[in-house]
Amino acid sequence: MCGIIGYSGQRNALPILLDGLKRLEYRGYDSAGVAIVGSGLQVAKDKGFIANLEGQLPAMQGTTGLAHTRWATHGAPSKVNAHPHTDCTGKIALAHNGIIENFASLREKLESEGHVFKTETDTESLVHLIESFYRGDLEDAVRKALHEVRGSYAIAVVHADEPEKVVGARNESPLVIGLAPDENFLASDVAGLLKYTDKVLYVMDKEMVVLTPERAVIKDLEGNVIHREPERITWTLEDAEKGGFEHFMIKEIHETPKAIHETLLGRLANLEVNGFLAENFTSVKLVACGTSYHAALVGKYIFEEIAHIPASAELASEYRYTQGAAERPLVILISQSGETADTLGATREAKRRGCKTLGICNVIGSSLSREADKTIYTRAGVEIGVAATKTFVAQLIVLYLIALRMGLDRGTLGYEEADRLKDELRSLPRAVLAVLNKEAEIQSLAATYGTDARDAYYLGRHVNYPVAMEGALKLKEISYIHAEAYAAGELKHGPLALITKDTPVIAIAVDDPTYEKMRSNIGEVNARGARILGVGTDGDKELPKFVDDLITVPRMSWIFSPVPVSVALMLFAYHVARLRGCSIDKPRNLAKSVTVE
């Protein structure tokens, strides 16, 4: 995804835009650019990190402007493909986040009218389209252009002849307005403007905004003014800085106990989760992408074990395009940012099928929280590292809480049993602490296993199979080692052929219903000569005989074991990547949340 920032005020726009871009850099970072309206329109852009751009900027004076940080979807990352894009006259500049679906036909039509395209991007068709409608009023031209566009967008547009004005619009991509005396801001994310103001206005789908130093006016695509009350943001930029840790990722891993506490706060005593307490569902479907999908897969076991309700997990990008079954499950949608395009699409699809939708996300006021019928927030705090860590655990915690509530309501869970489960939930912050306290040990294991590895295999069974998948994903994402997870029962159906003495295997064998089976699977791998790192339970005297090295987690009911095990695997992946000198907080080709499909 990309990040946009816009400014209209009294101050020199350039430093403000660059600062905002840096705050948004986690949204994408293969190229960046700025456009300033001063004496005419000036544009500068380049590929690479924002620091690259900043190093070679000409002096740009002006109090109105926009900037963009990009993650390529159409057209390779390059200087010319970087935003902002300009029209033929060089007077209009536009930054865009999203995808214009009908860009090919628009481009053909515009080219036949004589417009000259400079790039391969979908966005450029939009700027030429605006140019074709421009009759001295930018707002009007943008509105007319948007009527012809299909797709998702958050845009910011400026015109050299209309200084002090930034026009923005949104459809399915996030956009927020920041309000301050004599200056106003536009950004993809509150983080981009929080340094300057905590007073914000959210722009909704199919709405436009006209920004001047004095006011920000929201209108619909017909030009009718929409009145909306500004909201105050209570978190601060401090939340978003590293505090003595080497990377955001490790800082955030260490914040997991706090994230669990916060997510449980006030929800345990009476299990007041914002669910559908009165409804009677016959099944649950969990839908998500990436790491959140792994949380969904664990969720399947959680719902079946605690609430005794049939549950299944599906990738959002698949769910959207498959046929729904006749029954109507409760559809639970999980997304850290609440802006993941496929998950939002799945939400709409679920509603279309007549299902009730429940969102789980970490960002208040996100698109998911507005689209889903109800939302339960994970209270994990800001997560900057691209690899999801504490938010994954917080998602699991919310799933436990919902399952507990459902079990009690359905009468499939007794009060005493619920109390026991609640006690275990309370103990999870310290189970995680116990794992964090083994960081030095895990770091030296990372050196043993990760320094030369080209491939790695993760094995798990039952509730810890998705945890193995998540462990493999973490390793892939940040250390670039090819890693795969297999359900250990599938070993003999293929993957065993790949295992040699040079492929490290990470095997999860905690105290769960498949422990014995898992141990014999480890024996099979052992026979192929692979070096095995086991993840087991404290006090297990048998497992050390089957593995070369061992990380242990505290003993607990198996249904909760994914929490400490996933944290151990996060630490492992982090230290492997660190030892290999990888760009941990900003891995290549990846963005924090994927707002395109």
Partner: protein
């Protein structure tokens, strides 16, 4: 002016309470001990803080981060091996080019204490205090207002003035620290005694708060002192028929059931659940998500995050670590006891139970005064505990 806070030590004498956190992060009055020092510094206008960290350092970094949330600018200096306080301060040399303050992170201090030090910050100084147990500390001998020497735990007590471990130092001390290190002296009192031979070091007696945490029962004194300044806050759900007297902080998301009787000063962290007809008496702190069963009485105790004490229990003058679970009918009454810490016995006037994190006690467990239950012990129903229960032990 910069301040150096010593926060690297493990605190082995704190028994089970430093199993996962360094000593300075043990909560009293629902804040880590070292937070009081950070706040006192910031309130006195000292915002540049060097935090010397070592044992379980991530706990400190995660909590304070870059210090902005506390109005401070905190930088961290990690010390892999703790030889002594002088050795620790030496690690901060690259960041110190002017006169600086040194504070011990494991003492509860207030703004006045820091103010007394700042009033004498134009020359080297040591902050001292009168004590009724000087033989347990470093005793300071004086000539006029100047320090002659500091004697650690003297056999013969010549004065009741003790060293609080708070100093004003200047960078000229670093050479002396290096020379003393060669002779095997790594602690600041030794270095200062040597320095006093050539340099005038002022001894400043402080009227501010200074409560040092060395043993687990000290935590109760720190807690009591900390709770004297808490705010009256009512958040969460307080059911009909709850009685609250005195200053009580009730955190967000708490549920206090009908018939409960709360006598302040008390601090309840967020998400606590207090059962019907429970009684909470001063000076008690409950951490996050603590659960107190119906008909249970808690007196002058610290219950850390996620502790869970079942119905019809009595807990007095006790410290329960994070995640301690006691089923129904725990009896942890208070009285005089000889408590064993690190193999040494200490006569303590008034003490209940000291229970380490994640220990689990069955129904009807009775704990004798001064018993130390180390972390993650499992105790069966009906057991009677005395002495010391080792970590991870299973008691039938």
């Amino acid at each position: 002016m910069k301040a150096v806070i010593l926060a690297a030590g493990e605190g082995a004498r704190m028994g089970p309470f430093t199993a996962s956190v360094p000593k300075v992060m043990i909560p009293v009055g629902n804040r880590p001990i070292v937070e009081y020092a950070v706040r006192a510094l910031v309130e006195s206008g000292v915002r540049d803080i060097l935090m010397m960290i070592g044992y379980r350092r991530e706990r400190i970094q995660s909590y304070f981060q870059d210090g902005k949330a506390f109005g401070a600018r905190i930088t961290y200096v990690a010390e892999p091996k703790q030889l002594g306080t002088a050795h620790t301060v030496r690690q901060a040399k690259p960041s110190l080019d002017d006169r600086f303050l040194v504070l011990n992170g494991s003492s509860l201090i207030d703004r006045q204490f820091v103010g007394d030090l700042l009033d004498h910050a134009d020359a080297p100084a040591v902050l001292i205090k009168e004590s009724d147990r000087p033989q347990e500390y470093g005793v300071v001998t004086l000539r006029g207002r100047n320090v002659v020497g500091i004697t650690e735990r003297p056999r013969e007590v010549l004065s009741n003035l003790i060293n609080t471990g708070a100093y004003v130092l200047d960078p000229s001390i670093f050479d002396l620290i290096d020379r003393q290190a060669e002779e095997g002296h790594h602690d600041l009192p030794s270095v200062l005694s040597e320095w006093a031979k050539t340099t005038a070091i002022t001894a400043v007696e402080s009227n501010g708060t200074w409560v040092d945490a060395r043993y687990p029962w000290d935590l109760l004194r720190l807690n009591e002192t900390a709770l004297q300044t808490i705010q009256d806050v009512r958040a969460g759900t307080i059911e009909k028929g709850v009685t609250i007297h005195g200053r009580v902080t009730v955190g967000e998301g708490c549920v206090i059931r009908s018939g409960a009787y709360l006598q302040g000063p008390l601090s309840l962290g967020p998400g606590c659940e207090i059962g019907a007809n429970a009684v909470l008496l001063p000076s008690t702190s409950l951490g996050k998500n603590v659960r107190i069963g119906p008909l249970t009485t808690i007196v002058n105790s610290i219950l850390m995050d996620d502790a869970n004490v079942g119905p019809s229990s009595v807990v007095a003058d006790s410290v329960l670590g994070s995640g301690v679970v006691a089923r129904a009918g725990l009896l942890a009454a208070s009285g005089p006891a000889d408590v064993s810490i690190e193999g040494e016995y200490h006569a303590v006037r008034q003490i209940g139970a000291l229970i380490g994190e994640d220990s689990e006690l069955g129904n009807g467990v009775s704990v004798d005064c001064g018993t130390v239950v180390n972390e993650r012990a499992r105790v069966s129903s009906g057991a009677r505990l005395r002495g010391t229960v080792p970590a991870g032990a299973v008691v039938h």
